[in-house]
């Protein structure tokens, strides 16, 4: 708001005369114009416009500044706003007259009629304006391109030299040397190694999401030959359960779900989504090189056979994304729905593969990273040329046609049969019944389908000003991000440009792709990535705690042909991974958060591993691999990855997943943050699911035991994979009393209660 002094016309005039250029002061007509500006127009602009359209505004709305002549002469994102002398051609007039709803300004209410008339007069006079201070910042200048050479994540990956360490006998491999060097720099030593019982439990839960069986524990503990650990790592990496575990980690990143979000006028299940889920599981089990993993998921439908036949499933990453819908009521709603859908693809792909928050550049240039809005629409344009194939037949057209034909025949015969039945035409009835039986016998089998995508065009998109698709700005050519590909990289030429985008991401020279993947793998072994913000490597993300280790692993990944299993080996064979999870006061004093990795942190199991473990130790896990989603994790005994995930919380099963920090599948997740809340504990204490597992465990563990001591020893061995401690046995026998199996009034027997205690205990719930 102007001060009272400045709004007084007389003072204003004096001020103008004192500051205006000599030529103006000596020209009476010009002086009059300026006095008019200062007394009438400037106060209006200050009052109604400056809040959003001046250098003080943040952001400067619409890129338009009305606090200087060069400001409005330059115009805003949508172009010129004032045509001097021509009020009717000036968008400013349209705005203040409130004739166009999209352009109505000021936003808090229409100005008084006389004031609108003053603005018309001012423009008619040629919009005299003495405010010569030029805009100091243009939008393009806001991007700090030097970050592409300064920020660590944009630097090429090179092989760092392995550091020298003082305790040279401790490191088992390169990973250890990088870790120990950091520890030694803070005068810390790693804690001791974990016991072999702990190690096999840790490794099994990590790689397969299941605890080792007592027999597996015994074999490993007894194996004193060299290379026992390495053999165990290889055996577990080769287990089909490995893909079920690590595939699920990836599904978090790509916001996998078995349906679309329910709205008031739209609900779409995704009945074939599981094919993508199974594709991911298989890709991990087959150790599909990561660069191909990237390309298949972004452009598998564009590859040549034989890759294409699986590729059309792999692009489920795109096809299963959020589809925002509008009922078509308002054009704004339709535009918002489309822009949200595009944003889902841009966001999932860029945070998922590159750990860049490109989505932040949707309405304005990225505030912190070198990502201009045009780059956002360069990528959005690719997905704008990508169409959705709702139920793509995964067979040849002939097979599909045969199936459709046989189905049609069956339908037709059934109808005729109905008619004949009603007409009481017995001879016809018999004939039709025979034909129908034949039709059933010869009918082609139902064929598999997938939710897939295809290219639909190759048009560049226009920048949507302020993120509004109804306000198109300049063209944004489809191409890769300038922060990674250099300024003004070549445009993508083929179809939508998806395949070129995929290859740009999978390019070994891309500084982010390998680092991001390495970090995600590390995160799931240590509970936290070397970069804590696993989906944001931008300038506002956390810097790496061990930058050289990150680079060494990224280099190794590329060097080994993008083998994820080899990456696991590099990490798992380190002594760092094999550290105990115990703490000491002095370590806590120096590094309470264990950022330097002096121990292996204990990790609470996610819901998948905890539930699957309960099923496993109670002897009821159904190990069937793959196939359509099953309904409820409370009822079924399949592994949790095979339970349907809904984008809305619809079922008790969904509620349980969310209760245990399962990510909201409407948006890609960088990794779960475990919470600890009472409702989770109520599940452990009271849920029929846990109680049922306790009953099953109780009968399994009691079989063939003679004494209470033996039972306790047996169940502790099954559940915890170790020998029962004397104190534990004492507590247990005290609890079980004389009659461990007595149950009155349908209550759990003490023995069943004891088994439930083990399933709900911290030791069982945490990966050691």
């Amino acid at each position: 708001m102007p001060s009272s002094r400045l709004t007084n016309p007389l003072h204003m005039l004096l001020l103008v005369l004192a500051t205006a250029p000599q030529s103006v002061a000596s020209d009476p007509a010009a002086a009059k114009d300026l006095a008019f500006f200062e007394s009438k127009i400037r106060p209006l602009l200050v009052k109604h416009c400056y809040a959003c359209h001046s250098s003080q505004a943040d952001p400067i709305e619409g890129g338009l500044r009305l606090d200087s002549r060069p400001g409005w002469q330059k115009g805003g994102d949508s172009g010129q706003v004032i045509v001097a002398g021509k009020p009717d051609e000036s968008r400013l007039m349209k705005a203040v007259q409130y004739t166009d709803e999209d352009l109505a300004m000021p936003p808090d209410g229409v100005m008084a009629k006389p004031d609108i008339e003053l603005i018309r007069q001012w423009i008619s006079r040629g919009a005299p304006d003495p405010r010569a201070t030029a805009s100091s910042t243009s939008k393009a200048d806001r991007i700090d391109w030097t970050q592409t050479t300064r920020h660590w994540a944009f630097q090429p990956v090179s092989r760092p030299r392995e550091p020298q360490v003082r305790h040279a006998d401790w490191p088992g491999n390169a990973v250890d040397r990088f870790v120990l060097a950091r520890l030694e720099s803070r005068r810390l030593k790693p804690v001791g190694p974990a016991t072999s019982r702990t190690l096999i439990r840790r490794l099994s839960l990590d790689l397969t999401g299941l605890p080792p069986s007592p027999r597996e524990v015994d074999l490993f503990v007894a194996d004193t030959r060299p290379g026992a650990w390495s053999r165990l790592v290889d055996r577990l990496l080769a287990s089909p359960a490995y893909g079920q575990r690590w595939g699920r980690h990836w599904l978090d990143v790509v916001r996998y779900a078995d349906d679309q979000l329910r709205t008031e006028f739209y609900y779409r299940p995704l009945p074939h989504a599981w094919r993508y889920r199974d594709w991911v599981v298989t890709a991990f089990n087959n150790d599909l090189p990561y660069d191909q993993f990237v390309v298949h998921q972004l452009a598998g439908d564009l590859l040549d056979e034989p890759l294409r036949s699986d590729g059309v499933i792999a692009v489920g990453l795109l096809a299963l994304g959020m589809m925002y819908q509008d009922d078509g009521g308002t054009p704004d709603g339709v535009a918002i729905a489309k822009s949200e859908t595009l944003d889902d693809r841009v966001d999932t792909v860029t945070r998922g593969f590159l750990a860049l928050t490109v989505s932040c550049a949707r309405c304005h240039d990225h505030k912190f990273d070198p990502i201009p809005t045009s780059d956002y629409y360069s990528l959005a344009g690719i997905f704008n040329n990508t169409g959705y194939v709702d139920e793509l037949p995964l067979v040849t057209p002939k097979v599909a046609a045969d199936y459709e034909a046989s189905q049609a025949q069956i339908a037709s015969l059934s109808k005729q049969l109905e008619t004949a039945k009603r007409a009481g035409d017995k001879s016809q009835l018999a004939k039709l019944a025979t034909s129908l039986t034949n039709a059933f016998q010869t009918a082609s089998l139902a064929f598999p389908r997938a939710h897939s995508v295809r290219d639909t065009g190759s048009a560049d998109m226009r920048i949507a000003l302020r993120g509004n698709l109804r306000k198109p700005g300049p063209i944004a050519p489809r191409r890769f991000l300038q922060a990674l590909a250099g300024r003004s990289p070549p445009s993508f030429k083929t179809g939508s440009g998806r395949l070129e985008l995929a290859r740009s991401i999978a390019d070994p020279r891309n500084p982010l792709t390998a680092r991001v993947l390495v970090n995600r793998i590390w995160q799931h072994h240590f509970g936290r990535g070397l970069v804590e913000t696993a989906s944001n490597f931008g300038t506002r993300g956390e810097p790496p705690t061990h930058p050289q280790l990150l680079d060494w692993l990224a280099w190794r990944l590329i060097e080994t042909g993008w083998s994820i299993k080899q990456l696991h080996r590099d990490i798992l064979l380190s002594n760092t991974y094999q550290l105990s999870s115990d703490s000491t006061p002095s370590h806590l004093q120096t590094d309470a958060d264990n950022r330097l990795l002096w121990r292996m942190p204990r990790m609470r199991l996610d819901i998948e591993a905890w539930r699957d473990s309960m099923l496993a130790v109670s002897g009821t896990l159904d190990e069937t691999v793959g196939g359509p989603a099953v309904d409820s994790l409370l009822v079924e005994s399949r592994r949790t990855i095979y339970v349907a995930v809904h984008r809305d919380v619809q079922t008790e099963s969904d509620k349980l997943l969310r209760l245990f920090d399962f990510p909201n599948p409407r948006i890609g997740s960088p990794g779960r943050k475990p919470t600890t809340i009472p409702q989770q504990q109520l599940f452990a204490l009271n849920s029929p699911f846990v109680i049922q597992r306790a009953r099953q465990l109780a009968s399994r563990a009691a079989a063939g035991t003679a004494s209470t001591d033996q039972r306790i020893a047996r169940v502790v061995r099954i559940v915890m994979g170790r020998r029962a401690l004397p104190r534990e046995v004492a507590l247990g026998t005290d609890f079980l009393g004389e009659h461990p199996d007595r149950n009155t009034d349908g209550q759990l027997s003490p023995w069943q209660q004891y088994c439930q205690v083990l399933l709900g205990s911290n030791e069982f719930l945490f990966r050691p």
Partner: protein, 474 residues
């Protein structure tokens, strides 16, 4: 060794049962690590400690309830340019309000005949007549009201308050959402904690056939008596402490031990809090609670059971639950496109209970520190929705009314205004985000400082907007 329960961490420390581990941890951190719901200091002195949101989902008409427009009768059937704005559906000429308005209380606030009981509290109400929102569609409107955005990927304001302030009662969830016989739109998205920790998400309770003993999932053990469970629970916690002893200090292990304690207590606290049979007959009468919850249908939309919900809301709030959202009924009951007279049975269903809630809070000395918010996701058009034979009103996002009462707001006060027909907020316009900023302010939080870092940036409830409406603060 006999260990009493509940076992607090303080108790553990004093007993030394956890050995060097816990003591070491206390030494290192110098304090007890706070649980996620532990009460936290606000940014400045709050005017309200708790909030009850009476969500009038579906969009009640402001011009038939709290914002009278006498000119509507004069211009009946006409379509002056002021009202010629595009809303969701096609509308024609102006439709007068079939409801009579009167001034009430010392303040002389206008309230229509739809809310005779609420009208008696006119001097407590702070009407905001100049509300507006972005999109005239229910899900977008309700999302804006619930989570402050049109995208379904943001945390609800109840979650933000839980995150910012924690709770006053560790035995109950910090944020409870109540509805009767179904979800209000847009369902769980409306009380989701989104990227905030899951502990802050609203606990949804459907009061239809509510058995207080089963109010939360798994609240009771189906196979154990209370005494047996106590014994089992003690064993569990001893085993957990044995494990902690072996491992040395570990924050994760400890916080689960604490969480188990809370859960154990919640088993008894939650059923008690939801049990309205513990209230006197006089209180039941005050709220208009009969032997069975009411139910009805008007304009094809069901409603009922609101009075019971209002009393539960009071019980929860009284016990320190930070945020209670009480939906009028499932889905979008106030959406009277086809006959504005359908507002009558719905208002009848909630009027008395809302008035009772205000009286009840006041007589218990709770109203000063409890903020009550009444309102829908938008208002309704002064023009006629022509989708049915009877005259109804379309969604109106250009202008509508909400009201606040209690905790720190001026009573008998009107803020802002719509134009002469009630089509559009024109004076002191207040976006829903301004309302959110004001609610946070009243609860002692600066909406620009209450942030959470997610996917590379600091998020706020009010995104990059929101302004505190200081004029309405007492």
């Amino acid at each position: 060794m006999i260990t009493p329960w509940p076992i607090s961490r303080r108790h553990l420390l004093s007993q030394g049962t956890a050995g060097i581990g816990l003591l070491g941890l206390a030494d290192v951190f110098g304090h007890e690590s706070p649980g996620p719901l532990e009460g936290r200091a606000p940014h400045f002195a709050p005017r309200a400690k708790r909030i009850i949101h009476l969500l009038m989902n579906g969009g009640p008409s402001h011009i038939d309830t709290f914002d009278p427009k006498p000119l509507l009768a004069k211009y009946e059937g006409q379509r002056p340019s002021t009202v010629d704005l595009k809303t969701q559906r096609k509308t024609t000429g102006i439709l007068h309000s079939p409801f009579r308005f009167q001034q009430h209380g010392d303040s002389g606030l206008w309230v229509s005949e739809l809310f005779p009981h609420v009208a008696r509290h006119a001097d407590k109400l702070c009407l905001i007549h100049s509300m507006y929102t972005d999109i005239p569609e229910h899900i977008s409107g309700l999302l804006m009201m619930d989570v402050g955005a049109n995208q379904p990927t943001r945390p609800s304001w109840g979650s933000w308050l839980s995150y910012g302030l924690g709770t006053e009662n560790q035995d109950l969830p910090a944020f409870v959402v109540i509805s009767h016989n179904g979800d209000p739109r847009p369902g769980p998205t409306g009380w989701s904690s989104s990227f905030l920790p899951g502990v802050h998400s609203g606990a949804f309770i459907d009061t239809y056939k509510l058995d207080p003993k089963r109010v939360l999932a798994n609240i009771r053990n189906p196979g154990l008596s209370r005494g047996s469970q106590r014994r089992q629970f003690d064993l569990l916690q001893r085993m957990n402490r044995l494990e902690l002893n072996r491992s040395g200090a570990d924050r994760a292990l400890e916080s689960r031990i604490e969480s188990l304690e809370l859960a154990f207590r919640m088993q008894f606290a939650a059923p008690e809090a939801f049990d309205i049979s513990r209230e006197s007959k006089a209180t039941h009468d005050l709220y208009g609670i009969g032997p069975q919850p009411t139910k009805g249908v008007a304009g094809g939309r069901k409603y009922g059971g609101f009075a019971e919900g209002a009393l539960i809301a009071r019980r929860l709030s009284e016990r320190g639950v930070r945020v209670v959202q009480l939906a009028f009924a499932p889905d979008i009951p106030w959406d009277d496109h086809t006959d504005i007279n359908d507002h009558r049975p719905k208002a009848f269903e909630c009027d008395r209970a809302i008035a009772a809630l205000l009286s009840d809070l006041e007589s218990r000395g709770l109203l000063d520190e409890t903020l009550v918010l009444w309102g829908g996701e938008f208002g309704r058009t002064p023009t006629t929705d022509v989708t049915a034979n009877k005259p109804g009103r379309d969604h109106n996002h250009f202008g509508f009314t909400v009201w606040l009462a209690g905790g720190g707001v001026k009573g008998g006060y009107r803020y802002g205004a719509t134009d002469e027909f009630g089509m559009r907020a024109v004076e002191n316009r207040a976006h829903v985000r301004d309302l959110h900023a004001t609610i946070l302010h009243l609860m002692g939080l600066d909406h620009e400082r209450l942030t959470f870092r997610h996917s590379g940036r600091d998020f706020r409830l009010t995104d990059v907007a929101g302004r505190v409406i200081h004029d309405i603060i007492a």
